[in-house]
Amino acid sequence: MTWSDMSPLLWEATGQTAQMVAWATLFTVLFGLPLGVALVGTDRSGLFPAPFARRILGLVVNIGRSLPFIVLMIAVIPVTRLITGTTIGTGAAAVPLTIGAVPFFARLVETALREVGRDVVQAAQAMGASRARIVARVLLPEALPGLIAALTVTIVTLISYSAMAGVIGGGGLGDLAVRYGYQRFETLLMIVTVVVLVVLVQAVQSLGDAVARRLTRR
């Protein structure tokens, strides 16, 4: 196999991976961020204490996190069909990716938000700030560097999860490596694919680190 044979394959696979990860990231933030806020807020000493809801949320998140992604991907097929109307392809793969990453991201968000000092939150309460304002104007901005770091780790994890999307026809770099490298003994293609994955992960991590560093005012 020559470079000119590999090049289109690599481009297509990279595009699929990017597409899966991008959609999954978007929805992971959309659902995971509020979930993370809820995990912190429903604490007994939190902004909107609800110990029972806290326990349920914690349980759901833990179940989500303990399922191996490959199992989860198969298990949520009915949900995928409900949402995307199909169970195969890049779009369909974004559904299990999101479901797999939300609990993971939510826990990281929880950790980042807990880094915000209690006294800062109380100072805002003493000024007469509403709870919604405290979340939007105190917790999230103060935790922003931590949230960016959480997002970075989540995207890297999504890239690695997406390698398994080949199982449900999502395509992508992982799928390429398995199909050509493992099944057709195209070792060179496999190595190049791995290199592309490494570069991709490295780029995401470096970018995330740089942004987080820029936002840190401590």
């Binding site: 000092g117 006294d119 800062v120 109380q122 100072a123 805002a124 309460q125 003493a126 000024m127 007469g128 700030a129 509403s130 304002r133 104007r137 105190v138 901005p141 103060e142 922003l144 936002l215 005012r217 401590r218």
Partner: protein, 321 residues
């Protein structure tokens, strides 16, 4: 201005406040002293209802806060400033951004906020620091930001929980001077908590001593000084336990002269007694010269000498032989 009565706060089996009554008059600086765990912070946090009391009432500026709904309480809090031991500034915002935060909460339009922020920073002596982040400031500067932020809503009451405890002595004095100035210029009522006697001496008009969730004694400082056996006097001017027969003279607000008046040498001359000074301290407290002197009187007309001192408005206690 602040009227606390029968205040109780219970955490599980811990009784943090056990029936506290506190009366802070308009325009005074009121200091609360007490050992660690006495319930001082809990008391302060009950005054703006950061902590909901288990019982009793909290009236600030004529309004019973415990009776307010959440929305009204938030509005009432905007009129009560608070400063914190560790400053509690938003690290992601500049100095100006921090001071603007309470103005945003009050719903002040953006164009008026900038002018108000500038005015407040000017007031606390930080005019040049508007664009700095808290991490770039010294402790004293951070507390000035905290004070500017607390004053944003032109509050009538300022609450301070150990606001100078994280600062060095020099910086502490400058922050206290600022608080005193705000008190004198704007009639700001200040309720502060401290474990530093120097804070009480430097700025307070009244004081309370707490222990185990109760107020042991409270009132204007000159009155407390004039009360025999006062714990405040003991804390402000500590002396060793009295030797038998020794005399403890307390200079209080009731004393007609000044503490540096040669009352002791007058006694020596008038009553032909020998005065042996065993210990003591004299300072300016709450605008009066106050302090304690431990002496031993021998020879001459000792009894008459003691009577003379009492007549001058001094508190004279003789340890039994």
């Amino acid at each position: 201005m602040i009227e606390v009565s029968g205040l109780r706060k219970v955490y599980g089996s811990v009784v943090a406040l056990d029936g506290v009554d506190l009366h802070v008059r308009q325009g005074e600086i009121f200091g609360v002293l007490g050992r660690s765990g006495a319930g001082k912070s809990t008391l302060l946090r009950c005054v703006n209802l950061l902590e909901r009391p288990s019982g009793g009432s909290v009236v600030v500026g004529g309004r019973d806060l415990t009776a307010l709904g959440e929305r009204e309480l938030r509005r009432a809090r905007q009129g009560i400033g608070m400063i914190h031991q560790h400053f509690a500034l938003l690290s992601s915002r500049t100095v100006a951004g921090n001071v603007a935060f309470p103005l945003e909460i009050m719903g002040m339009p953006r164009d008026r906020r900038a002018a108000r922020v500038e005015e407040l920073l000017e007031l606390v002596g930080l005019a040049g620091k508007a664009g700095a982040y808290p991490a770039q400031l010294s402790g004293g500067q951070k507390q000035r930001v905290g004070i500017a932020r607390a004053l944003a809503g032109s509050p009538s009451v300022l609450l301070s929980d150990e606001a100078t405890s994280a600062l060095d002595p020099g910086t502490t004095q400058s922050i206290l001077a600022l608080l005193k100035r705000l008190n004198r210029e704007f009639g700001l009522t200040i309720l502060l908590i401290t474990h530093e006697m120097d804070v009480i001496k430097a700025v307070c008009d009244s004081a309370a001593i707490m222990s185990d969730g109760r107020i042991e004694e409270a009132g204007p400082i000159p009155e407390l000084l004039a009360t025999p056996g006062s714990r405040l006097t003991e804390e402000l001017f500590p002396l060793a336990p009295p030797e038998p027969g020794s005399v403890t003279i307390t200079f209080t607000g009731a004393y007609s002269g000044r503490a540096d008046e040669p009352v002791v040498s007058q006694v020596v001359r008038k009553f032909d007694v020998d005065v042996n000074i065993l210990g003591g301290a004299l300072e300016e407290v709450a605008g009066v010269s106050a302090g304690r002197l431990r002496v031993r009187l021998t020879g001459g007309e000792s009894e008459a000498a003691l009577g003379y001192l009492r007549d001058r408005g001094l508190l004279v206690e003789v340890a039994p032989r």
